[in-house]
Each structure stands twice: as C-alpha cells, then as structure tokens.
C-alpha cells in the first residue's frame, strides 16, 4: 500500500531537550509507525555529526602518532608531495561548490518555489564525477610516488602519506556512495532534505579534512 503526496514533508521540531516526540507530528498514513520513522530525517542529521566527531577523533589519533613519530626519531626524510595533489585539491574544492549549488537547486525545487526545474540532479552528477576524478587523481599520485621508489615502508613520511591519503580516499568513496543514494532517492522521489543535508555536510567535511591532511603532509614539525 502506498500513498503519494506531492507536498514535500515538513517536519517541525519542538525545542532541543524537551523530548518532544517530534515524529508524532508526522501523521502516519497507516497505523504503522516504523515506516514513518524510516522516513524521518532528523536522525540523519544528528548521525552525520556524530559520525564526523568519530572521524575527527580518529584523525586526531593519526596526527598525534605522526607528530610523535616525526619528533622522536632521526630517520625522517620529508616527502616531496606529487604536484597532482594540488590539482586533486582543486577538484575536491570544486566538487563542494557544485554540491552546494545542487543542494540549493534541490531545496528550491522541493520547497515548491520552482516547479519547472527540469534536471534537479544535474549538479549532483557533476559532483559525483568530480569525486570520482579526485579518487582517480589520488591513485595517480600513489602510482607516481611508487615509480619514484617511495613505498609504504620506505620511510615513516611515506608511511604516513599512504595511510592518510588511503583512509581519506576510503572516506571519500563512502561519500560517493552517499551521493549515489541521494541521486537514486531523488529519482524515485523519496529524497528527504535532511538526507541531502547530511550527505553534503559529510562531503564538505571531507574537503576540510583533506586540506588539513595536506597541511600536515607539507609541514615539517
């Protein structure tokens, strides 16, 4: 049984700590409340912030490991970063811009302000493409370093380089999975604003994280 409404859902939320039971404000079409909860967006937003807190903590641990390792041992040879990384950085930053454009585009579309919008997913596809390009660019950087004889165990600097870039790339791939899910939901007409927002928060965070990692890798402490 499925009911389709053309109004995008608007979930209002009462004050922060009041235990407002905000789901109850979405009248269930059937008496089944789990389906309502599945559709509810708020936990997605909370969840993404909590997830980002965990990721921040992990990279804080990696950072402290790198600072300690760099500072306590004489065997550190600083790694000259491949130039392609700067191009990748530009690509990733551009993808954030296109995602933001798409978010606003879709927000206008979902708010019913511009019903004539033909391709709300267009900017999402471009973001997806740029994201894939970034990962490919990172792969090219690994190949380049390998051809220069910098392997993961060559020096602690290259060990940390590979660990940082590899784990960041894994997180970006996760973000790409999120984008694919958003596009699929948009196409099926079941996208929630909070899902889109959560995905874009995550994506922008990956941007900021990359800038931070780049700074760490360039700097010699």
């Amino acid at each position: 049984m499925a009911t389709t409404t053309h109004e995008p859902p608007r979930v209002e939320r009462i004050g922060g700590s009041s235990g407002s039971g905000w789901r109850n404000l979405v009248p269930p079409a059937t008496r089944n409340l789990r389906s309502v909860q599945d559709r509810s967006g708020e936990p997605a937003k909370t969840g993404v912030w909590v997830g980002l807190a965990a990721i921040t903590m992990s990279f804080a641990a990696f950072t402290s490991a790198m600072v300690v390792r760099q500072g306590t041992a004489p065997d550190w040879r600083h790694l000259a970063l491949p130039h392609i990384l700067y191009l990748n950085t530009a690509i990733l930053l551009a993808s954030s811009v296109t995602l933001e454009l798409s978010r606003r585009h879709i927000a206008t579309y979902m708010g019913g302000l511009r019903l004539s919008a033909q391709y709300p997913a267009r900017w999402l596809y471009i973001t997806l493409f740029l994201g894939v390009l970034f990962v490919a660019g990172q792969y090219a950087a690994w190949l380049q370093l390998r051809s220069q004889g910098w392997y993961v165990a060559t020096n602690p600097s290259s060990s940390f380089f590979y660990v940082f870039t590899w784990i960041h790339a894994m997180h970006v791939l996760g973000g790409l999975g999120g984008l694919v899910a958003v596009i699929s939901k948009l196409r099926r007409g079941v996208l929630r604003r909070s899902t889109l927002d959560a995905t874009s928060h995550y994506w922008h965070f990956m941007d900021a994280l990359w800038l931070y990692l780049l700074f760490l890798l360039i700097t010699k402490f």
Binding site: S17, R31, P43
Partner: protein, 597 residues
C-alpha cells in the same frame, strides 16, 4: 523526473526466518544476538582461565583434549609457558571486548534503550544490524587464531609493541595469530563505532513525547554516556590497530624502534616508538574500563531503585557523577604507564585526575547504599546481584587508591595486586551487573520468569566464590607475586603456592556454579512460568508494553510520558508506584524526608 514525494509504505513484521532471527533490523533481536555472542565468549574465556589456573598449581597436569587443539602449545595436554601466555591473551581479549563491552552496553542497551525512551526502533536499524554482524566477524577472526599457525598471540590483551609487531621471531602465535588479533580488534572497533553512533542519535532524536532528558531512566543515561565515551575511544583504537597491522604486514616502523636485536638477529626497522602504541592503546584502554562498568552501574541503579521501592537520594547526582566519570576517563590513561620511563611530573599529572575519579565513584556508591534508608527492600536474584555489584565495586575500587599513586604503583605494577584490582572492579562487578540485568529483564525479553531459588543460590555461590578468587590476588601482589608467569616453583614464590591452590580450587568451583545459571537460563526460556507485563512493578516504559514486546515495541502506539522515571514509595491506584506513562496525578508531594522507614 519524478516529483519529490513521500511514500508511506506499510511494512509488516518480518516473516522469513532469516529476516526475523538472523539478519534482523529489530533492535531487540540484535540485543539478544549481542547477548548470545557475549555468553559464548564468556564461557570460552572462563574455560581458558580454568586451564591457566590448573597449570599454575599443577604444572605437569595433562589436560585431556588440549593436545589436540594445540599439539605444539600443549604437547600431550601439558601447557607450555608460551601457551600459557597465549591462553591469557585470548582470555583477556575475549573478556574485555566480547563480554564486558558486548553484553552490558551493546546487548542490554540495544534491547532496552529504544523501549525506555518510547521509540519503536533505533535511529538507524540497518546500521544496527551491521554493527552486530561486523562484531561477529571480528569475533570469528579472533577465534580463528586458535586454529592457525602456531596458535593465538601471546602479547597480552594490551598487545604491547614491539613484542606484538615483529612477527614470528618473538614467539609462537606472533605470526598469523597476532595479525588476526589486530584485524579482529580493528573490526570490533568499527562495530562499536556504528553502535555508539546509533545509540547517540536514537537518544537525542527518538525520545517520545514528554520524555525529557531528566526523565530518562538511569540505565538509558548510562548507555548514552557510554556511547559518547565509546565513540571517541574506539575511534582512537582503530587507527592504532591499522598502524599495528601495517607494522606487521607492510614492513613499516610505527611502533618498532631501530637497532632492535631479537634472537641475535637485527630487525630491519628504524625509529619507531613502542611508547606510541602504549599511549594510543591506553587512551582507548582507560575509557574502556568505564565502557564496561558504566552500563553495569546504570543497570544496577535501575534495579536497585525498583527493589528499594523508593527513589534514589538523587537522580540528577547519579547522572552527573556518571558524566564526570566519563569525562575524567580521558585524562588518566597515563596511570597505566607509570613504569614506562615517564617523567615524574607527568606521572603526578595523571595521578591527580585518577584520584579525582574516586569522588564521583564514591558519590555513586553512597547514593546506592544511602538510599537503603527508608527503603522497603525486595530481595530477589536481580537485587541481590545489584547489591553484589556495589560490594564488588567498592572492594575492587579501593585498591585503585593505591595503584593511582606512582610511588606505590612502581612496587605493585605487574603483580597480582593489579590483576585482583581490575578483575574485581571491572570484571566481576560488570559481570554482576550483567547477571542482575539478566534476572531483571529476562521476563521482558522472553515472556517467562526465571527460577528465583536457583537464582539466589547462584548469587550466593558466585558472590562468595568471586571473593575467594580475587581477594587473595591482592595479598599475592603485596607479597611480590608477579603476573604473567606460568609457574611459581622457585624459592621466592614457592611459599605462595598454597594461596594459588586455594584460588584455583575456588575458581574451578565458582566456574562450575555457573552451570546453575546456564540451566536456569535455558530451562526458563522454554519452560519458565509465564511472565506478566510488569512482574517487578516497575515504572519505566519497558514495563508498559507486553512481555516480550511486539516487534514495533508498543503495538503501533507511542507512549506519552508524564512522570520522572522512578515514582516509587507513593500512594497511587496501582500500589506504591506510578508508571511513567500513566496520566494519574501524583497526590503526595515527593519529599525524601517524608519517606519514613
């Protein structure tokens, strides 16, 4: 392109066996799965401790069948010193990760947190399913270590580098076994991170109408605080495991120092820092202690207040104390490293917050004990184990005062005093919390009552047994008995053997007593007396729904909460309590002074 729209689709409860019992997204099934995994792990861990205790006092005793499991480690069933360490490592890892973390936090938390806040599931049910199955895969990797190469690792549950990072040359089990260990724990971290994320989002977003933060039951609070601790702690252990795996398989030198000679062979590593592993590990490891104990403390608070039939002296102070413990847990990891060559000033800096932790811990204890005044204590298996928890928490916690001070710790470090301390305060106390939770919530989880007589017998044997095992550990430690030795046959420690014999016999007996529990659990599951919805006359939301709850917890309704969680000791239409979702006005103004004994 479709219009953006909402589909409200009716999902019935899952019907196929696999979706219902195995790959279920229902938080109740997942909670039971965690419990079952924990139960299996605790049985294996206990058998391992038996083998160790047998070997310690009868070093030449051949354990039947052990030779088949490990022909090299226990030829003819006689444990070698290396195999002793391997058993010890597996015992510690299984107990800390797959029992103490899994059951009171992930097991009971999954089952009861959504119900207690009036939600019909976790915020992310599929993540929830994933978190269990990821943990399960982690457990498989760990158990696999028994059957590969020359057996499980021997570096201890703390896996100190470089012993844990150099590979085969450092001993049996350090080849494949230790790699499996690191992978297992890394995977376990991912499972716990997913679980913690879910707990936090659920508590913040899915509370039902009227369920303010201060109206959440104490165990919900404990699970929430624990998930905040776990989120940050496991997020540090995961990178540490990744670096360890790289050191082991990719030849990097994160934790391995240069110029290291093992068995006359120079190791091809340079510049790594073994202390870095210790810092990363204990930054996780100390909060882990509270990940094990706080949920148990929450469960025990929840049960005690129900058995006392009066509110605790202060609901809020319990919450704030648990928060303070959680916060302080991140500032004390260095107290595990007093003998690592640490600057005495740093040692002092870690010693001070460690001693400060005793303040909220003492407040909790005083509230649990002080609230007995004016209570109408109901003695049953659950309340006995809850009181037993308080006893263990105090008895094990007191030795923490000594260990927190560097000058004393230098003498006591790596002795049985430390082993006694953490077994009582973290191990046995948390396990008592689990037993209390099991006896208390079993009717809700299965719809059947457990046998009270067997439960009480189980309590008294276990309570006395646990003291007989772990109290003498402190004495041994003070006498200078070092830990991790597989035999004590020399002149120095030989005279302590009678104490060891006493401990081993007590351990075998106390372990055997657990069969009573196991029998009670399985028998009651199928043939126990049917349970009513609210057999303990509790007030929180889990008692508002049927036993066991329907698949969406409240049968399509959402409870609305009107009261604080523990409205006991008042006059009402139901007796001496008012349930949280009862719209009944409370006539008596609750004032603790009016509650005369």
């Amino acid at each position: 392109m479709h219009d953006t729209a909402v589909h409200a689709t009716h999902h019935g409860p899952p019907t196929s066996f696999i979706r219902k019992h195995i790959f279920s997204v229902d938080h109740k099934v997942i909670g039971k799965q965690y419990y079952a995994l924990g139960l299996f792990s605790v049985l294996v861990g206990m058998v391992l401790s038996w083998i160790m205790r047998l070997h310690l006092v009868w070093p030449n005793f051949a354990i039947p069948g052990l030779g088949l499991l490990s022909p090299a480690g226990a030829p003819g069933g006689v444990v070698t010193p290396e195999y002793y360490l391997q058993l010890m490592t597996m015992h510690g890892t299984l107990m800390v990760f797959f029992v103490l973390t899994n059951v009171p936090f992930a097991g009971f938390g999954n089952y009861f947190l959504p119900i207690q806040i009036g939600a019909d599931d976790m915020a992310f049910p599929r993540f929830n399913m994933m978190s269990f199955w990821v943990t399960f895969v982690g457990a498989c990797f760990l158990f696999a270590a028994f059957f590969v190469g020359d057996g499980p690792p021997l570096a201890g549950w703390t896996a100190y580098a470089p012993l844990s990072t150099l590979g085969k040359i450092t001993g049996p089990g350090e080849d494949v076994g230790q790699t499996l260990w690191a992978i297992s724990i890394g995977i376990f971290c991912i499972g716990q991170l997913l679980g913690s994320l879910n707990f936090i989002a659920t508590t913040l977003d899915l509370r039902t109408k009227g369920m303010t933060f201060m109206r959440m039951p104490l165990c919900t609070w404990a699970w929430f605080i624990t998930s905040c601790i776990g989120l940050l702690a496991f997020a540090v252990l995961l990178p540490a495991c990744i670096l360890m795996i790289l050191d082991r398989v990719a030849g990097t030198s994160f934790f391995i120092p240069g110029g290291l000679v093992v068995n006359d062979q120079l190791q091809p590593h340079s510049g790594g820092s073994p202390l870095l592993w210790q810092h990363l590990f204990w930054f996780f490891g100390h909060p882990e202690v509270y990940i094990a104990i706080l949920p148990a403390a929450g469960i025990v608070s929840h049960i005690l207040v129900n058995s006392y039939r009066r509110p605790l002296l202060s609901h809020k102070v319990v919450i704030y104390s648990m928060m303070a413990i959680g916060f302080l847990s991140y500032m004390v990891w260095g107290h595990h490293m007093f003998v690592s060559g640490m600057n005495p000033v740093s040692a002092l800096a870690f010693s001070f917050p460690t001693l400060v932790i005793t303040i909220p811990a003492t407040i909790l204890t005083l509230i649990w004990v002080g609230s007995l005044y004016g209570s109408k204590l109901r003695i049953n298996s659950a309340s006995l184990f809850a009181l037993g928890f308080v006893s263990m928490f105090v008895a094990g916690g007191v030795s923490g005062f000594f260990l927190a001070q560097p000058s004393i710790d230098i003498y006591l470090h790596a002795t049985y005093f430390v082993v006694g301390h953490f077994h009582m305060v973290m191990g046995v106390a948390a396990i008592f919390g689990m037993f209390a939770g099991t006896y208390f919530w079993f009717p809700k989880m299965t719809g059947r009552m457990m046998n009270e007589t067997l439960g009480k017998a189980h309590f008294w044997f276990t309570f006395v047994g646990a003291y007989c095992i772990f109290m003498p550990f402190h004495y041994l430690g003070l006498a200078g008995n070092v830990r991790r030795y597989s035999t004590f046959v020399d002149d120095f420690m030989g005279p302590l053997m009678p104490v060891h014999k006493f401990i081993s016999i007590a351990a075998l007996c106390t372990g055997a007593v657990q069969l009573i529990f196991l029998y009670n659990l399985l028998h009651s599951r199928f043939w126990g007396k049917p349970a009513s919805a609210n057999p303990w006359e509790g007030t929180s939301l889990e008692w508002s729904t049927s036993s066991p709850p329907p698949w969406d917890n409240f049968g399509g309704k959402h409870p609305v909460v009107y009261h604080d969680p523990y409205q006991y000791g008042i006059e009402s239409s139901t007796g001496d309590y008012v349930m949280q979702d009862s719209p009944e006005q409370i006539q008596t103004v609750r004032d603790d002074k009016k509650l005369t004994p």
